[in-house]
Symmetry: C2
Subunit: 323 residues, 2 copies
Amino acid sequence: MNIDKIRAAAARLEGRARTTPLLSSPFLDEIAGKPVFVKAECLQHTGSFKFRGAWAALSARPAALRQKGVIAYSSGNHAQGVAYAAALHGVPAVIVMPADAPKLKIANTRALGAEVVLYERASEDREQIGAELAQARGLSLIKPYDDPEVIAGQGTTGLEIAHQARAEGLTEAEVLVCCGGGGLTSGIALALAAETPAFTVRPCEPEGFDDVARSLATGQIQRNTKVSGSLCDAIITPQPGELTFPLMQQHCKAGIVVREDEVLKAMALAYQRLKIVVEPGGAVGLAAALFHSDKTSAQTLIAVTTGGNVDQDIFAQALATLP
Amino acid sequence: MNIDKIRAAAARLEGRARTTPLLSSPFLDEIAGKPVFVKAECLQHTGSFKFRGAWAALSARPAALRQKGVIAYSSGNHAQGVAYAAALHGVPAVIVMPADAPKLKIANTRALGAEVVLYERASEDREQIGAELAQARGLSLIKPYDDPEVIAGQGTTGLEIAHQARAEGLTEAEVLVCCGGGGLTSGIALALAAETPAFTVRPCEPEGFDDVARSLATGQIQRNTKVSGSLCDAIITPQPGELTFPLMQQHCKAGIVVREDEVLKAMALAYQRLKIVVEPGGAVGLAAALFHSDKTSAQTLIAVTTGGNVDQDIFAQALATLP
């Protein structure tokens, strides 16, 4: 895994992924006590950065393999990213989802052109279902994060940040990234280490699900004691990836942990001051910038808002935190 | 008023105004029955396109005049655009607002560095208050739309649309613009007529406040019978401007009128599918694209979402239209 892979992914994503804007507001700077920029990756196709990794992985496969189609396990942003990237490539996509996933997510994934295969969480093994389908149809798996091409695709976000930050005249910054399995975080960290070494990345996680922060602190992969029950469900994984963790170890500063009430406030401020819709898991980095800037050492912060796929009842809960 | 003025404004706005993204979603294309792009000008500084015109007008003034400061009448987006543009220029701004304007808007305008002067709607004449202040302090007025430099500033949105549409491979389109006094609409129309003549503009207005549509249809300036009581308050003006109307006559196709329930649905779909926050007045063009595409003749539509400054109770009302 190296910067050339990210640059190659960027070339393949050119004109396909959106160059999402770098936003800011004097009202947010005031709250943080230092300038805060927001990389609004929630404005990416399908409403999250996951489209980048899916496109990068698909476009890297040999044509004969790609034509047979792809398979992914996800009920969330990865599902939609893979479905849409496959549709644009004109190849079949099968998404394996739990039967109790929200109906809207199932409907959206189907509407993006994918075949959705449902399984019963309690009685069925999704890996087995997926493996049988893959073998029968020649489908190849797109992992959510622990894959070099996926990391490379997500890392193109880092190339854009470096370019846009230079245009803003920034010479140093800490980049605060919402972190689940670490695909986006490690990709951005690798890109910035090559492009703008004065920019460093901090993984940001919700309280109780801080496996990456603890893994970085101890130097060994740590697991979360639970993997559900968080408002920030989109970024909850059991532990950092086998590929992503060493990259984060090499390139990231210590993680920052935020509370759920801070996440809701960050979502509300993104609505009020930036006019963007951010989901809870996607607002963790912004919450860290706004409410934990004392844990940062750079003069400028860049928070990546990674996704915007949030149900309206939870969004209303966030808005209710506004005066 | 001509294209050179818009190009000159674009040069002065370079690196100051945001290049707002051109967004899209297959879900919106499906509703409209043809491809729909959204120029997300709600992501502009201060949450609306008004920053462009304010910056363009300020930066066009002779330095000696500019240094004395500016004055504007507004309780809305124009107030915030002028306040922030003046602050970035380091010159004083006085904003004359009704005393019963929402406290948050008054507070925001002050926080952006302006001096807010309140007047009583019932008993005081804001023009007189403004004129006295202007004379006493040497302040110069920035009109909301009927000023060549303001039109030129708003017209830079049109230059960006032309550039971004070319990058998307579009060769013809109708551009649907929310229309109040017509500064943005006429500026975009003039820019597109010069840059991409196969793109034409349609002004879009809410039912009951369709002065521009009626003026274009009759060839003479028509007035609205009422100037308040609309959900889309930000774009309600008594009649088209003296400067903007002839430009719209020359360059625009017939207007489109939308209902308030369509505006709320468009806001909800912008939230759900594009992850942007749009205010009612700013969603009128998108409502026209989604629900009145039968009144358009181009194969592709581009809706400009002009602002995102919406109170959370009205935004919640829009979200409640989602299933």
